[in-house]
Symmetry: C2
Subunit: 486 residues, 2 copies
């Protein structure tokens, strides 16, 4: 066994103090600086310990005043325990039905996959579109540049550099959003019948891609705060060694739907573990820019040695929804990805790529991101508080440190699909848990989107949702008291 | 056997008169009106007979002065005779190598897949991009509209209406160019191992899609002037009846690479024949707008009865290369196509879709198309004449009635791959025949692009190409006099 990392030791000690009542609800913790000096460790270690406690619901950060023991902590959902075998996925039909049921247009779109468009710099993007279109060279329009718009790839490379990653623009293949990046990455690595490791719960579009490509899924036990469980993953890799999975697809930062964040050491260990078993990692990192801490999380790709991580990113969640510009930094798989892109859809749409290149050159991206992160963090707090206020006893929830998704587990007897139907009739949408499972699991769970600026109407909608969950639970318990197996 | 259609009887009679010397080189044919009255048939029948003779190289149309017997007709290539079995395709590696060899940037880009960007209304499109961006509704950016931009789908529906087709916008799914439309259509209809009917020669990207999806190809004997041979197709359908192909993919108008145009009766018979065998037609019709006659060709989809034809179109070849906006009018498969699009790449890029909707609403499309068609027709004449002037005796070529591709078959002993390498060294590109074959066939053939405004430099490049073909032939014949098998 590896030694427990320092930050985790610290977090465990603090959690024990809270459990014993030494540290009490509402009390302030020592500052980062105090703790760093007191324990002789780095500030980063203290930060990570505090983040971990925050994501476990034990701590709350108050901007510019410090860290406080959380008032009435709602527990986080337990680590998932999926079966160990590789099995076909059957989720597409359910997902399409639910996506088609109209979760966008309702007054309380908690089921949406996007933040509010009001949070994006649409007018500045429009100006970048106009400016970019003026710089168009006609020859570019009919040239099949491998990988897509050259300046945009250079700008993406510069963003990686800020994270300490030296990624050549030649390694970057622009795609129609990260969804195409994911689909092409899976196609590059697998053949029908192959197995792929995924989180449980995991992003439904990844499950759909696995289903459509005729692959089988091996689900990794997944921690609601820290993501894929590495001991569980190691056991799966040993068990499947005779017929090893061809890829591992996961979101290491602000996972959809959990909002979990894998700490840096864990990312490093993940990359090493997969490399030791010759399993390629497809890292879907589309929420990376939406971190609430001052430091951006490093991707798992930061810890690779020989280009064996395919890192998928996108501007759809953090800057320009609807432009459909994503990418994959494909490491040593770049030539394959370029060819797959070329033969699947030739190239990306030039106006959108030119607009984003122009916008990024203009330099306002970080300013926009600071505002977006602050807004999302505030909205997260509002939604966490609303769940605590309005949801039935026995509810569990995650405490995301970034992104805009919250994962809620309702008490025994609740059914998120039934709740979805009832809530939708009242203009409230949600994303039911079974969308995120290869086996229609998580029927007590739901993903809530806190990407809308908070209003009294949304607060009221959360109150209604809580009331429906409570009623739904009673009905369910009465109707099928013995047939439920979870 | 069905009776020979009227237009074909007429064409055959005229061809016989030319063969016997009754009608001589340079002589004018009776006008459409005269012939119509004389034979008591419709003007359309005479038109079709004359088109057929023109595409066989026997007639030349002179604008506003009539039809003339062609001066020194170069024969069209013979109908292809592929083997009848279904077999895996292995062309991708060759295609990628050739595409990567730089056919765009050379001074004489005869190997390019696009016409010159100078032929497109780039400044008007740019203004449409700007105007379209002003009408953006933020909510549209995060809404997953099934099928894509609503007004653009309506505009495409209106274009169909001009051809006499009533196609609801709900049936249209916007894609990232027609290439994605083709890929999604094949995915909707097939499973790995299934067989798909294709033309021989056929578009390399379709062959690559078949290869990537693990399908097998059954090649249809294909006429260089009229496309897929229906007797040959009927025989294949009978032969494969125990294990029937799942789809037939072809280009019924201005086929890539042949430039062939299937006459309307043949399209009607094609649809009926495939329907009788329950084989779905994927009609790739991306060159439809580039017809040189006054009347646009009807697509095969015009003859369907119950929505069993998937009709793929694009703005990339006729209006806006680089915008990557195509579509499929998917008939009764529309719900499947919508779902496949949603789970493959979510939606299309909004700025490009909005720009095209704006441009089409503005009403300048037809004006642009008239100019583009006239330019391409003129360039075709220049290239046909250049082949006649400069290429070795024994050369055959097609006479496309639309599009911008010419298919040339060199005499025995020539090798288009060798010619490609030699020509490229002199700044001349071409698309070698084996790119268009599931079996690396057509090694004496090449596709030439006449999409560039004609210049003395291009004329000189054609002269060099002809000289290289002649030299190449001599070398080949001397070097391997007995080893060639074609």
């Amino acid at each position: 066994m590896k030694p427990t990392p320092l930050y985790q030791q610290l977090a465990d000690e603090l959690a024990a103090l809270m459990a014993s009542g030494t540290l009490r609800s509402g009390e302030r913790l020592p500052s980062i600086r105090q703790t760093r000096l007191a324990r002789g460790c780095s500030a980063a270690t203290v930060f990570q310990a505090y983040y971990l406690l925050e994501s476990r619901g034990l701590l709350r950060a108050a901007p510019r005043s410090g860290y406080f023991v959380a008032p009435t902590p709602i527990p986080v959902p337990m680590r998932s325990q999926p079966p160990a075998e590789a099995r076909p996925v059957e989720v597409s039909e359910l997902v399409f039905q639910l996506l088609g049921s109209g979760g966008h247009e309702v007054p309380a779109p908690f089921g949406s996959a996007f933040p509010s468009p009001a949070l994006f710099p649409l007018e500045k993007l429009r100006r970048a579109l106009v400016a970019g279109s003026r710089k168009m060279s006609p020859a570019q329009l009919t040239a099949d540049l491998p990988g897509g718009h050259e300046e945009l790839r250079r700008q993406i490379s510069l963003r990686y550099l800020r994270l300490g990653l030296a990624i050549s623009p030649d390694e970057i293949v622009l795609t129609n959003g990260a969804l195409e990046a994911l689909n092409l990455s899976l196609q590059a690595l697998t053949r029908p019948g192959d197995a792929v490791l995924v989180e449980s719960p995991g992003f439904y579009a990844a499950l759909q891609a696995i289903e459509r490509l005729g692959l089988r899924a091996i689900e990794i036990p997944t921690d609601a705060a820290e993501g894929a469980d590495l001991d569980g993953l190691a056991a799966l890799l040993r068990q499947h060694a005779p017929n090893p999975p061809k890829a591992c697809w996961l979101m290491s930062s602000f996972q959809n739907p959990l909002g979990s964040l894998m700490p840096p050491e864990k990312k490093r260990a993940l990359v090493a573990l997969l490399a030791a078993h010759d399993v390629t990692l497809i890292e879907d990192d589309v929420y990376a820019e939406l971190h609430f801490s001052t430091q951006p999380p490093s991707p798992a790709k930061a810890f690779e040695r020989d280009g064996q991580v395919l890192h998928c990113g996108s501007f759809s969640k953090c800057l320009a929804p609807g432009y459909r510009v994503g990418w994959v930094a494909a490491g040593r798989f770049a030539p394959q990805l370029q060819r797959l892109k070329l033969s699947s859809s030739l190239g990306g749409s030039w106006p959108a790529q030119a607009a984003l290149a122009e916008y990024l050159q203009g330099g306002g991206f970080d300013h926009h991101l600071r505002g977006l992160r602050a807004a999302l963090a505030q909205q997260r707090d509002a939604m966490l508080a609303a769940v605590a206020r309005h949801f039935p006893a026995g509810t569990r929830m995650t405490r995301p440190q970034g992104g805009y998704f919250l994962w809620v587990e309702l008490p025994d007897g609740c059914d998120s699909l039934a709740l979805h139907a009832q809530a939708l009739a009242e203009g409230i949408s949600l994303a039911p848990g079974p969308m995120f499972s290869a086996r229609h699991e998580f029927d007590r769970c739901l993903r809530l989107n806190y990407g809308q600026p908070w209003t009294a109407d949304l607060e009221h909608a959360m109150a209604r949702l809580g009331a429906l969950a409570l009623a739904c639970r009673k009905t369910s318990v009465n109707a099928w008291p013995t047939s439920r197996t979870d």
